[in-house]
């Protein structure tokens, strides 16, 4: 009984194992897409636009644009993967394939479903981030190995999105909600939360909004670690804020899962 009451219980591990079993059937294509997209952005913005930026007024502290962009893209890619993996796969498991119903007929419970799902998403975000970091090193976009410290920051960013998006998905009857989430949440954050330029460039109001987004904290943490410029105070603030989104999101997901699945 003690093992069953642990957060990472045998039931949660079994949920993650089921997802990994499916992943073994499509890991090649998923790796290509989760690396190719940020790599294309890196090439397009970092290598071309970046040259213009560096020749112009440049970034504060004389940071090369490619070095500025790379950790930002890493965090943004983690946001996108963490969110996406918590949309269709979750609603599908609840409503279309009903695989969650099958799991709940076993000794596993709602919390196991959620924790197992988040473990799997953490695995996906972590491996994608690691691979993307490998691409960065190949690009010569890594000034130092400090960039590897951006990996846990990306992982935390991914979870800060995965948990609340999972909670949201369990409230939906159909998928138009996902398009709204993408249009009004994920995409604006991707563009305006510091991935491509310092948010100080934004008008004051939007700058304040950007500080409230979890992505800005993820990007700032990843970037600060990668460039070796971060100080303990802000680092703790970013980590704390991302953890808050993860934990509150997970708590909400337990509620929305229970309401949806235990009737």
């Amino acid at each position: 009984m003690a093992a069953r009451d642990a957060i990472i219980s045998p039931g949660a591990l079994a949920v993650a194992e089921q997802r990994l079993t499916a992943y073994r059937h499509f890991w090649r294509s998923s790796l290509v897409s989760s690396v190719l997209e940020p790599a294309l952005f890196l090439a397009a913005m970092g290598l071309t636009l970046g040259v213009l930026v560096d020749r112009g007024t440049g970034l504060p502290d004389g940071v090369a644009y490619l070095s500025f962009l790379a950790p930002g893209l890493l965090a943004a890619a983690a946001m996108q993967l963490g969110s996406f993996e918590s949309t269709y796969p979750v609603l599908g498991a609840i409503k279309w394939q009903k695989t969650y119903e099958a799991v709940l007929a076993t000794p596993a419970g709602v919390r196991d479903l959620l924790v197992g799902h988040l473990l799997y998403v953490a695995f996906r975000v972590g491996t994608s981030a690691a691979l993307f970091l490998g691409v960065l090193v190949l690009f010569g976009a890594a000034d130092s190995l400090l960039v590897l410290l951006a990996l846990p920051a990306a992982l935390l960013t991914g979870m800060a999105f995965a948990a609340p998006v999972t909670a949201f998905s369990a409230t939906l009857e159909n998928d138009p909600g996902f398009a709204a989430l993408q249009r009004f949440g994920i995409l604006p954050m991707f563009l305006f939360s510091g991935t491509f330029f310092p948010v100080a460039q934004l008008p004051a109001f939007f700058e304040a909004v950007a500080y409230a987004t979890p992505l800005w904290h993820g990007v700032s943490l990843a970037r600060g670690l990668a460039l070796g410029t971060i100080e303990a105070g802000p680092a703790l603030l970013h980590v704390g804020y991302l953890l808050l989104w993860s934990v509150v999101g997970a708590a909400l997901a337990v509620r929305t899962f229970t309401r949806r699945l235990v009737t």
Binding site: R4, T21, H25, K98, E101, A102, L104, A105, P107, T263
Partner: protein, 319 residues
């Protein structure tokens, strides 16, 4: 397993969803080793009852014990000893047939080597060994159903809950499934199933309850129920349908003499035919034609659970 009394015991069991009462105070006892059925039309409360027994849906009120345990307190311990075949297959279609059994066994904490062995046996049992490495998606409905049953057996359950096990399958696939379920029963596994097919209930159930609108209308073995609520035989009469004329009910008054003679005990009117309940169908038919009535066609058959249901509820099982 408990030796004394029922594996499943419900008293005054109620399930409400908001203002809707799906299960309205039922008493049920299922003994070890029996095949017990809930027979009733769609919406009778069968699935809600099954989900409460399966310890996935908390009862609104009443008393429920499954395997001697309380589902609201001991859900995981109960579910560890149940096998569940839900109304619609919920297999993982992204993985293979064999993997569905392997990953499902992990939820019961079973070790992988044991599961590989068990998956091999179960796939043989449900005649899917040659599809072990195939994805689930392209399998036929009957094959998916058999895989769902194999999956429900992966933890060697004491009780298997089957919700509408053969709905949507073609007749051949249904017979294959019935035969497999019969073998399970012979191995001593307790089966609890819901169905709205009378032939399925007659084939599989030692004992059943007829459910209607959340209540239990009758209980007994299929033969008992037919004896109690129907006659030995049924004479079905069809008459010419005339445009703008009332249906077969207009012939009912003409049958009065036949009923008074005692050849027919009871007449039921369906939209397209009359059902005459009688100890002897051929004799009843002679009496009908002797009284000057000439049906378009007639059929003498044994009474079935369908007739029991019609008698108890005034409606047919499958609309």
């Amino acid at each position: 397993m408990q030796q004394d009394g029922a594996l499943i015991r419900a008293r005054g069991l109620v399930k409400r969803f908001g203002g809707f009462t799906a299960v309205d105070g039922i008493d049920v006892d299922v003994a070890p080793g029996e095949a017990f059925g809930f027979l009733g039309p769609n919406g009778a409360g069968k699935s809600s009852t099954m989900r409460m027994i399966g310890a996935v849906s908390p009862p609104t009120s009443g008393e429920l014990r499954v395997l001697g345990l309380d589902p609201s307190a001991d859900g995981p311990a109960i579910r560890a000893r149940l096998g569940v075949v839900p109304q619609t297959d919920n297999l993982d279609v992204e993985i293979t047939v064999e993997e569905n059994l392997l990953v499902y066994g992990r939820y019961f904490g079973l070790p992988r080597p044991l599961l590989r062995e068990r998956a091999r046996e179960l796939l043989e049992f449900v005649q899917l060994s040659d599809r072990a490495g195939d994805r689930v998606e392209p399998l036929s409905g009957g094959m998916k159903r058999r895989l769902t049953i194999a999956r429900a057996l992966v933890n060697e359950p004491d009780v298997v809950l089957l919700d509408e096990p053969t709905t949507g399958l073609d007749p051949q696939a249904r017979h294959v499934l019935w035969e497999r379920l019969y073998r399970l029963k012979q191995r001593g596994v307790t089966l609890v199933l819901t169905t709205h097919y009378m032939d399925e209930a007659e084939q599989l159930c030692d004992r059943l309850v007829v459910m209607d609108k959340g209540r239990i209308a009758a209980e007994g073995s299929p033969a008992e129920l037919i004896r109690r609520y129907a006659t030995r035989e049924v004479l079905e009469l069809r008459f010419p349908v005339l445009e703008g004329q009332p249906g077969p009910e207009r012939y009912v008054p003409d049958l009065d003499p036949v009923v008074r003679q005692g050849a027919v005990e009871r007449v039921e009117v369906l939209p397209d035919r009359l059902l005459l309940y009688t100890p002897d169908g051929d004799a009843a038919l002679s009496a009908v034609t002797g009284s000057g009535l000439h049906p378009l066609s007639s059929l003498v058959r044994r009474s079935s659970l369908e007739d029991v249901f019609l008698r108890l509820t005034g409606r047919t099982l499958v609309d």
